[in-house]
């Protein structure tokens, strides 16, 4: 099955909307609830769901996502279980699902086997946060063979040469990291973001999504005025954790996500 991402971005472009990409960790706030949450978030307006496979020693995550991964690990969540959660979510939703994790887990699983199993489970792409394109040829070959999009990250420190290389390696979308640092909610979008997006645009026609620090509708609107999508991570992870036992959780999540989605619409 080919990745659902190109179709999704094409449809959004026709509607003059940016993509809302929402991140949650597999198995947090609970293992059983993850497939339902994916479906709920998609229904509430997320155009793409990123599912984090928890890793013990992340280098790119801020405290909120790190803590979420630790809780999931404490619940015994493994890569095979995470793929099974994708399989279960597929019974409820056709939203594109992109896996996000660290290279070691995928390497230990086996690059080829991971790509195959991820595709069979219904995933559309993967982001390996500590895998730069220089080290990625084997992974790209494995992913391509199974229709898994390879999303790579551009950072504000990336040189023009590197941006071209990263953009050239990315399929589905290019992940633009809004600022130097780890994941986490922040107050303002950085001033040099427009130039960075322009540089990526100059290198590729692949859609560009911006993440790291996007946490409220104003950010989403600002980002979607420049890029093809906005990624909200820590804010959602924190909200899900805080509302784990709230009987009104589903309605609250729906409100939160639909608020972000509304901000992706350009007029």
């Amino acid at each position: 099955m080919p990745s659902r991402l190109p179709q999704t971005f094409a449809a959004l472009k026709n509607k003059n909307e940016g993509a809302l990409v929402a991140f949650l960790t597999a198995g947090d706030p609970g293992v059983e609830s993850t497939p339902d949450l994916i479906a709920l978030i998609a229904e509430a307006g997320a155009d793409v769901v990123e599912l984090g496979i928890p890793y013990s020693d992340p280098l790119a995550d801020g405290p909120i996502i790190q803590a979420s991964s630790q809780r999931a690990l404490d619940r015994g969540v493994t890569p095979p279980m995470s793929l099974d959660l994708v399989r279960q979510a597929r019974e409820k939703t056709q939203v594109p699902i992109v896996l996000m994790t660290s290279y070691n887990l995928v390497w230990i699983y086996g690059l080829e086997r991971f790509a195959k199993d991820a595709a069979e489970a219904g995933a559309d792409g993967a982001i390996l946060t500590d895998l730069p394109p220089e080290e990625a040829e084997p992974w790209k070959a494995a992913a391509q063979a199974h229709g898994i999009s390879t999303v790579f990250l551009v950072a504000p420190t990336s040189t023009t040469e590197r941006i071209a290389r990263i953009a050239g390696s990315s399929t589905g979308f290019v992940y633009c990291v809004s600022r130097t640092g780890v994941t986490g909610a922040r107050k303002e979008m950085p001033a040099d973001l427009p130039q960075l997006i322009d540089q990526i645009r100059a290198a590729t026609d692949t859609p560009v999504c911006v993440g790291f620090g996007v946490s409220n509708p104003e950010h989403v609107a600002q980002v979607c005025a420049m890029a093809d999508g906005a990624v909200v991570g820590s804010k959602l992870v924190e909200f899900l954790h805080q509302n784990a036992d709230n009987p009104g959780r589903d309605a609250a999540v729906r409100d939160l996500v639909s608020g972000w989605k509304a901000a992706t619409r350009r007029f």
């Binding site: 887990l105 390497w107 220089e134 990250l153 504000p156």
Partner: protein, 406 residues
């Protein structure tokens, strides 16, 4: 990629991507810091080729660190064990009390060249933290050192030393609260502050160019040892033994002997409560291939690739990874890797103190514990050098508690 990997010259150097033997090393880190690694690689290559830099490094090694450190013939030990003649490379006599200062000085001189005003580091035993804090004080740098909460507890003396030297020690409460988590936190800090910060990694691990660069700065240990033993005995040693945390003192003393096929190189890891338990830190002996802290090497991990928690009585060896060049040496069979338990290291600690009047670091005591087993099995004419990587003052409190003396 027409690298002739079998010629002696190329056998043990990294390729352009920082790979040893094409398999270990590399760069597995967030994109944000890749340009900084490129900058560092270039700055280091230039510095290495610049006689002025080499002279500056040599000057501080000599007049500030007190190099060359002696190579001491341990006569009593040799007599007692009744086998090989044992020589001690006295890194415990280097300023700040361990080999870590060689690397810290080399890197601070490099940071100066790169105009980075802020320095961060991680530390386990605290020796690398003390060395970095010292180098920062000497050159007027701001310095922050990440240290696991458990290590803050068991290496109190070194925390006080760092504070006195003007460094800020940041306790890390995530994960296992030891060295690996301190490395994670330092790496995250670097991802955030990469534009004005240089990260001084304390061992031959991490993304390229760290394993190569740290090895080069630590090679001074082996270069001196080689010359000293030749002057003293007219020949090369038969065996060189060193303990392995991340692997920097071992790589430093091994590297200048790499092409001397007759010299056995032996690395000693921490077997903690024993390899049959979950509580050890013997990465090369009992780990598997994986990626940790930016490079492909050996890792102590579960079947899914989650990093296992480790244990060693010695904070400086309590690490689930190891430098990629050691992984390459292991695959090539160029070095042997063995392990000794907490108990054996603790016994060796007391034995070295009594037999030579030197209190060794618990890390170095692991190397001695192996020497104690090995030397009696070797012919009397053989010469063995053991790297006494550091002095044990920092461990006295912990050992005293263990022995019920406090």
């Amino acid at each position: 990629m027409a690298v002739d990997t079998l010629s002696a010259e190329n056998l043990y150097v990294a390729d352009a991507q920082g790979r040893f033997g094409g398999e270990f090393g590399g760069r597995f880190v967030p994109e944000t810091i890749i340009p900084a690694l490129d900058e560092l690689t270039e700055a280091y290559a230039k510095a290495k080729a610049d006689p002025a830099f080499q002279e500056e490094f040599a000057y501080y090694c000599k007049d500030y660190v007190g190099r060359p450190t002696p190579l001491f013939f341990a006569e009593k030990m040799t007599r007692e064990l009744g086998g090989a003649q044992i020589y001690l490379k006295r890194e415990d006599l280097a300023h700040t009390g361990a080999h870590k200062i060689n690397n810290a000085l080399g890197q601070i001189l490099l940071a100066k060249r790169m105009n980075k005003p802020r320095i961060i580091a991680e530390t386990g035993a605290g020796q690398h933290g003390v060395a970095t804090a010292t180098a920062c004080a000497l050159f007027g740098y701001e310095c922050e050192v990440y240290m696991g909460e458990e290590d803050v507890e068991r290496q109190k003396l070194n925390v006080i030393r760092m504070n006195l030297l003007g460094a800020k020690v940041i306790p890390v409460s995530s994960g296992t609260r030891t060295l690996k988590d301190a490395l994670n936190e330092a790496m995250r800090d670097w991802v955030t502050n990469v534009r004005n910060t240089h990260y001084i990694i304390g061992t031959v691990a991490g993304p390229h160019p760290y394993p190569t660069m740290v090895r080069d700065f630590q090679s001074i240990i082996g270069i001196e040892s080689r010359q000293q033993i030749q002057e003293e005995t007219g020949g090369l040693p038969d065996v060189v033994v060193a303990c392995i945390g991340g692997g920097s003192n071992a790589m430093g003393i091994f590297y200048p002997f790499v092409h001397d096929a007759g010299v056995r190189l032996i690395g000693v890891e921490a077997a903690g409560h024993g390899l049959h338990t979950e509580h050890h830190a013997a990465t090369l002996t009992a780990g598997s291939k994986g990626v940790l802290h930016g490079s492909a090497s050996y890792v102590l991990q579960d079947t899914h690739g989650q990093v296992r928690s480790t244990h060693s009585i010695s904070a400086g060896l309590d690490y689930p990874g190891v430098g990629p060049e050691h992984a390459h040496f292991k695959e090539q069979g160029r070095a042997e890797y063995v392990s000794v338990t907490d108990e054996e290291a603790l016994d060796a600690f007391q034995w070295v103190a009594k037999s030579e009047g030197i209190i060794p670091a618990l890390e170095s005591s692991h190397a001695f514990a192996h020497v104690r087993k090995l030397a009696p099995t070797l012919p009397k004419e053989q010469k063995l050098i053991v790297c006494l990587s550091g002095r044990g003052d920092k461990d006295v409190d912990q050992v005293a508690r263990r022995l019920g003396l406090l």
